[in-house]
Symmetry: C2
Subunit: 571 residues, 2 copies
């Protein structure tokens, strides 16, 4: 590609509205432009990278035995009613009516469409297993789109759906996709981890997320210091402490705490160890419970794990915290003064809290706390559950090592859905015994456009992007110095461009009438791995100058060797 | 690809609701499935063909110097207000609001988005010429989607947009795209014609359509019998007859015609030559005319060309015929009795009518006609225009030969838009003289999904599709006879599959436990060009059987030669 035919559109300044580095660099490198909130046009440089990601994903998913299809972006709303997801998805599911007032949605995913297809097209177990996928535009009407293509409304996603006759088949399909994901992300040169994940709103029995590790990640991943264990913090189990409940050493006392509305204030004003305090959180109860509100009790320095809470049968889903008004109406005290002693509500205690002794908590009276509380003596313990997020240093649930936390960007997700969708949509086949069998489904997604952003989060420096080899928009760039004034430079540059192109290499030939410094800055910003500088002086010595974006090094290479040199660099 | 991993989904019966052969065969061959009216899922076999079309288009458009981008499917409505197309497009432009009640549309095309991009990104004439394109999902909310993907609501389209500093540059960009289109359609093996076209609602100064010739085409194309001239009938000029106006030979007489409401009845009942009659059509006049209605007069056997009529400055656009009520209110007679004599309305006469003598027409009184009308003597001639469709045998407007008509399917369209959009959207750059120059735009579309259907219209027989080599979903299929019972057949089939795949050939290996007849029928239906049959008997003779889908021939080929034989067939 010659820059004279191209739309480079690089920017010197970092745009004000871009918070994360990938968004900043994608704008600066001329990869994307915002059309409207959460809607981006992929400029030529961005699209080249997007297509490379797409192609690697396609190849590995094909190798796993899946077959490509293409489903419409516009889907009939009634399919979403069949599975009940029309409600579950809420406002993220963009709905509209056509000219005949028939209701449709913009596809955020395609479980319903593919299940409807398979129930029509597949009639016998002999046609299974079957794994169908597409790489297609998706739309989610995010309330707050942000971070560029990382959380856009319209984006490119690979979504695959496997259909098996039994759970064993599903497990095999799932493992094949797990492996294909690893191969794809390996080829892309990403530092990623498959992690255990909650199945969330999409439902199902088993699930892994694939996270690219990066400071800017929205998710926290819990790793074991000793094993391969990794889980999204939503999912990572906080084990019950190995310690036993200690005997009381203090009397329970009622203390005036007028200026302590928070745990931090309580700890500071009364010289308490925070590990000797608890937080009592009121949430909406489920219909399983004979009360509207249920209390969840965690240690003062811990965080409630909302997913774990929501997954409890006693807690309403989605999780909803009680408002201050509701709490006051119920207890007569505010949220800063709640605690288990004397509480006339059902409550659930976190595993860690269940082995605490001599601890402090609100007295369910404004401006009063109890100190020296002990389970059994002062209040009955009752139901114990895992309610909190793991923290660094927790024992790993795998039994080996301790928990360490890192931030990750979710770029892929695989689910064992089981019969969740196939049952609702009556998707079955004639089994070996001649009876109808409801199919076992898996679903698999890769956020193709998000992969591009996450690769940048992991691979950049102060001068711009440093692409992994497989994702670079161009593998090589040519910078001719003063081409307009030197026939020798022009001739050498044109010949090199022709030779590299003929060798099947993606080359950016910078034929602009710009200073070399401008060209270098652009190529570094765009992140082209290999740059060849052609100048009169080095040509006189029979050399060109090679620059390595990743290593930051330069070296002279003989003109006669340059094509072979580059081929070896790329191989 | 092994059929055991694949979704073949062929149908024996022709679906009832498919009218044209391409729609029938795409359903039967398992290429597409209907999701809702005008919305189709591309099954694996269909998608393979779609991608081959896409890739050929991409390569040729790249070769023409255009650069690929990707714009969102969802576009802000306000951009369409800027150009006024929000009204012009009518109900085909699907509108909706997002969760924050902001208005958007589903992209039917992207002139507005690309012009808005270029006005922001390109600032100097030095960055021109620039041609940006995408291959992206489009949506048009057709009132009556039909013929499968031929007139679907959601479809894949290549749309390119060129930006030049002047008309000469635009012309060069346009010519380069014209050539790229020809190369692409040539490579696809299609019988097509570039034809002169009306620019229609999209506006602009010059335009060609690319039509694939097929009986089922919705468009009529006028060709010269002697030259390369070809034009959509909407656009093809009907020349003024070479004959002069003849002197009158009859008196004008008023005749009672109570049973002649149509030209056909008049001709039959009064033994008139139809070439001696005229039709008088009342249409809404434009603001340029001092009347609400204007009459258009064409010969009795000719058809009004609505596009030509609409393009007249005297006629309202879009063209609207007067209703019978309006005609009666104005004239006191019905539409079957109109004519120029005594008509108190402005009228325009077709070129052919202008040289008619001794002709018949309605008398503007119910059940009465004048016969023997002559211009000048009985009524003044007035304004003469080209109002009618050309018919076979007309002199070609190119000056050579006569007009022949064929039906065509429009698969591509190129426009010289000029400054139509760039002016409204203020898309200019700094010109060589330091002043702002509004850019000259071209736009270029190829209906990628429609190309697939049109190729089938041209290439099929009673057994199914006969793909042109470049578009076949698989180049070769392997039919093993009784593989389950013969280790030799299985081994030979597996080896051939491996060898052909290693040679980069797209192979369908039919490993189903089906009778050979079922496999042959499927492969013929799908249209795979080359089939190799492997059976015990021929293997014993060291041979495999080769079947040519296009020629319908069979021959034995030595096992040792088969890979080379197929390679040569494909090359």
């Amino acid at each position: 590609m010659r820059t004279s035919n191209y739309l480079l559109s690089t920017l010197k300044e970092t745009p004000n509205d871009a918070e994360v580095v990938s968004h900043q660099l994608m704008l600066r490198a001329g990869m994307i432009r915002k059309l409207a909130s959460g809607l981006y046009t992929w400029l030529p440089t961005g699209l080249r990278v997007l297509r490379k990601v797409e192609n690697i994903v396609r190849e590995e998913i094909n190798n796993a035995g899946a077959v490509e299809t293409l489903m419409p972006v516009v889907q009939p709303f009634e399919l979403w009613e069949e599975t009940g997801r029309s409600e579950k998805m809420g406002a993220e599911l963009l709905r509209f009516t056509d000219r005949h007032d028939r209701p449709f949605v913009l596809s955020p995913t395609a479980e319903e469409v593919i299940t409807s297809l398979v129930r029509n097209e597949v009639s016998s177990y002999k046609q299974l297993p079957l794994n169908l996928y597409q790489i297609q535009t998706k739309f989610r009407d995010e309330r707050r789109p942000r971070f560029g293509v990382m959380r856009a409304r319209e984006f490119s996603m690979m979504d695959a759906y496997s259909f098996d006759i039994d759970k064993e088949g599903l497990k095999q399909s799932y493992e094949a996709m797990h492996e294909a994901y690893c191969k794809a992300f390996d080829r892309m040169g990403l530092d990623y981890r498959p992690v255990l994940a909650d199945t969330g709103a999409i439902g199902g029995s088993g699930s892994h997320e694939f996270h690219v590790l990066a400071e800017s990640g929205e998710d926290l991943i819990a790793f074991s210091s000793e094993s391969d264990y990794a889980a999204n913090i939503e999912k990572a189990e906080a084990l019950a402490p190995a310690t036993e409940l200690a005997a009381p050493t203090q009397e329970m006392t009622l203390v005036d705490t007028p200026n302590a509305k928070t745990i931090a204030e309580l700890v500071e004003q009364f010289d308490l160890a925070i590990e000797k305090t608890v937080k009592t959180l009121f949430v909406k109860a489920s219909d399983d419970v004979d009360a509207d509100i249920i209390a969840l009790i965690i240690r003062g320095d811990h965080e409630l794990n909302e997913v774990k809470a929501e997954n409890l049968k006693e807690v309403a889903s989605p999780l909803e915290m009680a408002t201050e008004e509701e709490i006051r109406a119920l207890i007569g005290a505010g949220p800063g003064s709640l605690g288990p002693v004397g509480l006339e509500l059902p409550f659930i205690v976190d595993r860690t809290v269940a082995v605490m002794s001599d601890f402090g908590a609100g007295a369910n009276v404004d401006d009063k706390h109890y100190f020296g509380i002990n389970w059994g003596r002062d209040v009955e313990l009752g139901q114990i559950e895992d309610l909190r997020n793991v923290v660094e240093g927790d024992p790993s649930p795998c039994g080996q090592g301790t928990i360490q936390l890192k931030r990750g960007i979710e770029v892929g997700h695989i689910f064992q859905l089981g019969t969740n969708y196939s049952e609702k949509m009556n998707c079955g086949v004639l089994g070996p015994n001649g009876k109808n069998v409801i199919l076992e489904m898996g679903c698999y997604g890769i956020g193709v456009s998000r992969v591009v952003a996450s690769a940048i989060e992991q691979n950049h420096d102060e001068n711009g992007i440093i692409w992994p080899a497989a994702l670079a928009p161009f593998q090589v760039s040519i910078v001719p110095m003063n081409m307009a004034k030197s026939a020798e430079v022009k001739e050498a540059a044109e010949k090199l461009y022709a030779d590299l192109t003929a060798a099947g290499i993606d080359v950016l030939f910078d034929d602009r009438k710009e200073r070399p410094g401008v060209m270098f800055a652009d190529h570094e910003l765009i992140g082209i791995p290999h740059t060849i500088v052609i100048g009169n002086r080095s040509l006189e010595n029979g050399e060109m100058e090679y620059k390595d974006r990743h290593a930051g090094t330069k070296e002279g290479v003989a003109v006669t060797d340059i094509v072979e040199f580059i081929k070896q660099k790329i191989a």
